[in-house]
Each structure stands twice: as structure tokens, then as C-alpha cells.
Amino acid sequence: MNDDPSLFDQPQTVEDRLAAEALVVDVDGFEGPLDLLLNMARTQKVDLRKISVLELSKQYLAFVEKAKELRIELAADYLVMAAWLAFLKSRLLLPPDPTEEGPSGEDLAAHLAFQLERLQAMRQAAAQLMARDQLGKDFFARGLPEEMTRVRKVTYTATLIDLMQGYARIRTRDEFRPFVMDRNNVFTMEEALDRLRGMIGFAGQWTDIQSYLPEGWDGDPVRWRSATAATFAASLQLVKEGHAEIKQSDLFAPIQMRRRESPRE
């Protein structure tokens, strides 16, 4: 590819040559091959749309050669671009082969020109953007923002159903409560039955069931009531089982019980 004599016959000013050399030495300063190409394109001093891609390709390839001479290691990207530009150059120089498929040399050149123009445009846009007034540098936000205090307000609701259920719950619990809470003051029917079963065998005479109350359960009215009820219920159970007889002579008269002599069938 270097056998193209025009590469060295380019009508370049000294300034341009120096610039080209500087490019090579300063290869680290470029952001990739496209950036380098864009810089080279500037030396053509024409509108990017009218740029000679052929010229540019030659210039780039010369750059790569020069870098080799100076033993400067080029990143792979630069070499890929060089290979492609060499290919492009040959396409542009040779008459088009009608049998060959793919884009023409002109298409490829146009695309490269487009890429350069677009990169240039983005550079300018970036510069314009950074030239704008900026927050914290040219214009400012409130220096003393006021804190938003978060107030969490909780509202409570209840429905009439909740209310009534709540009430029903208390009422029923209240009545049920002695079962668990007042175990000390409750004489259960089972206890009364046990007690009566042990004692009934000795009760040949009619005896007031009050006398069967366990000791210590006749003082406190609550305990007395519980023991009386349990004993009465137990006595009914004994009657039902056929072990005892029970009688009450009058309304509110003492309830009396005695052993049944001959158990019923």
C-alpha cells in the first residue's frame, strides 16, 4: 500500500507536516482513531462534508507508517482502522468491479465522512452544553432549604359491629370468668359428687344437704353459693343413679337427702 507515490507528493505546508508529526508523537492524546481522523481532517481546512476521504486515508496510513518508524506502539483500534482505510483507499482508486457485492467505495467513504461529521457535531454540542450556566456555579438553589417534617397522623376507626361484639365479649367473659379465675371459690360438681359418694353410705336418716358442705365453704357467701349449688347438683346426680332419695317439705325449706336402701332397677 505504501507504493502509492502520491503519499509523499502531497502538497503539504511545513506547518501541516509538523502538525502531522506532532500527531504521531502525541498519540496518547487521542480518543481513538476516529478522533485522530477528525484532527487530521482539520488540516484539510474544508467543510467536513466536502472532505476528501481518499486524502484522509492516505494521511492516516502515513501516520501509522511513521508510528512504526518511531517504534510507537499503536493500540489495536488504530491498526484496525488502518487496515480498513487501506481497503477503502483501494476501492476508491480502482474502477468498481461489477461482480463484487457490498457497498461501493463511495458508500463507505460517505459513511466515514458522516461519522466524522457526527463526532464533530457531538463535540460541539458537548462544548455548548458545558458553556451553559450551571447549577452551583452560575445559578443557585436555595441555600437554606427548609426541612419537610413528616407528621404521621393515625386515625382510628371502629364500626358498630366492633362495638357490640366487644360488649358481648366482655359480658360473656364476665360470666364465665369464675370458671378460671376464681377456682379457689368454686366447688365443682365433680368434687361434690366425690364427697357425697363417700358419705352417702352413712346417711340412713334424712339429712339437710347443707350438712354435706365441705368445711370452710359455709362462711363466705360466694363459696357457700358455689358449694351449695355443686352439692345440690351432685345430690340430684346420686338420685338419678339410684343411690339416694331427696325431698323438700316446703318452698325454701331445707333440702334433705338420705341413702336409698334398695337401689332401683
Binding site: 417534617t149 397522623k153 382510628y156 366487644g166 365479649r169 366482655i170 367473659r173 378460671v180 379465675m181
Partner: protein, 225 residues
Amino acid sequence: MSDDLQADGDETPRESLFEAPPMGEQERMVEAILFASAEPVSVRDLNDRMPHGCDAAEALVHLRKRYEGRGVQVTKVGDAWAIRTAGDLGFLMQRETVEQRKLSRAAIETLAIIAYHQPCTRAEIEEIRGVAVSRGTIDQLLEMEWIRFGRRRMTPGRPVTFVVTQGFLDHFGLESARDLPGLAELRAAGLLESRALPSGAPQLGEGDVDLDEETDEGQSELFED
């Protein structure tokens, strides 16, 4: 509201030895500095920061007038100046999140007892519920304006009583607390589930005792508060 200010605010030409900016400009500067500064700024600092020949004190007078009645105010903080939210708009600086919660069981029960037994003392509530009533519960109901203080009981200690409020009646759609259904009606309405007693359990008290299915739950709750 500040039409009268427009005239002298922006254009008044001022004579100054130092060709200070017009007062309208100075006012803009003070406005921008007070706005952007992280702290209140003294007149001296303002003058230091503004171009030579400016009179920050005078600009402040204009600026202050301009903000009269606005959403923010130019206010003096110590010997410095700042822009602050107008006092009446402080509520905008609070983000209020309203959360709706169900009233606690303790509160509902307390409320129910007051409604059914009003006027009702705290001791009575505790007697009926079988547990102490926490101050918070009563306070909450008072704050919700569902209950209020009734007349003091003419008994030793003259304890306060609680009654339900009109707000309570409105909320629950009741004409009066007397309209609350009784136990029998609650049962009829299915709010009280009738259940057979566990066999062998003694049936104490009046005949119409119903042990609803909540008993267990109820028991454990006894020790809740």
C-alpha cells in the same frame, strides 16, 4: 398587593458617587444572595458581596416590602436577614401521612362499656372489663371525641364519669346510646354465638349465660394490659 412598590422598586434612578447599580438591581442582588445563602446574611456581609456603592440596607427595605403578604418573608434573624416561609403556611412544610387503624380491642371494650353503662366511672369500667383501664385508652377516646367527662358521681371520692358524645352517636349512626342493642338482641343478630356448654361445667349465675367461642381468646386477653 404590592402595586405601590412597583413604582419605586425597579426604576428609581439613584445618585451615587460610585455609580452603584440602580436600586432595583440592588434589590435583585439582595434577593439572590439571601435565597442562595446557607445562613442568614448581615447587612454588612451583603454590602461586602455587592458591587461597590450599593446600599444593602435600603435594598432590604424594598425587598422586605415586596415580600409582604407573599408565601415567603424576608425576616430578621439576630442581626442578619433570611428568607423564610410565611408563618401561616408552615403547614405546607409538614408531610402528613394519615394512617387509618382499627381501634384496639381494649379501646373498643372500654368504649362499649361507657356506651352501655353511661355515665360510668373508671372503676366501673375496670370492674366490668375485669382489668385495669390504661390512661392511654381513655385519653385516646377523649381525643377522638367519642367520649367526654360527665357529671361527677356523688359518692365518696366524687369520681368523674364518662359519657359518649354526639360525635360518637354520629359515627355509629345512633340516635341515642339507648338504641344500642341489648345482649338478647346481639344474640338474635348472631353477634353472640350460642354454644352448648362443655359437659360437666358448672352453670353459675343467671340462666342465659352464653359461652361464645371467643372465651379462650378472652382469657388470654385478660392479662394483656
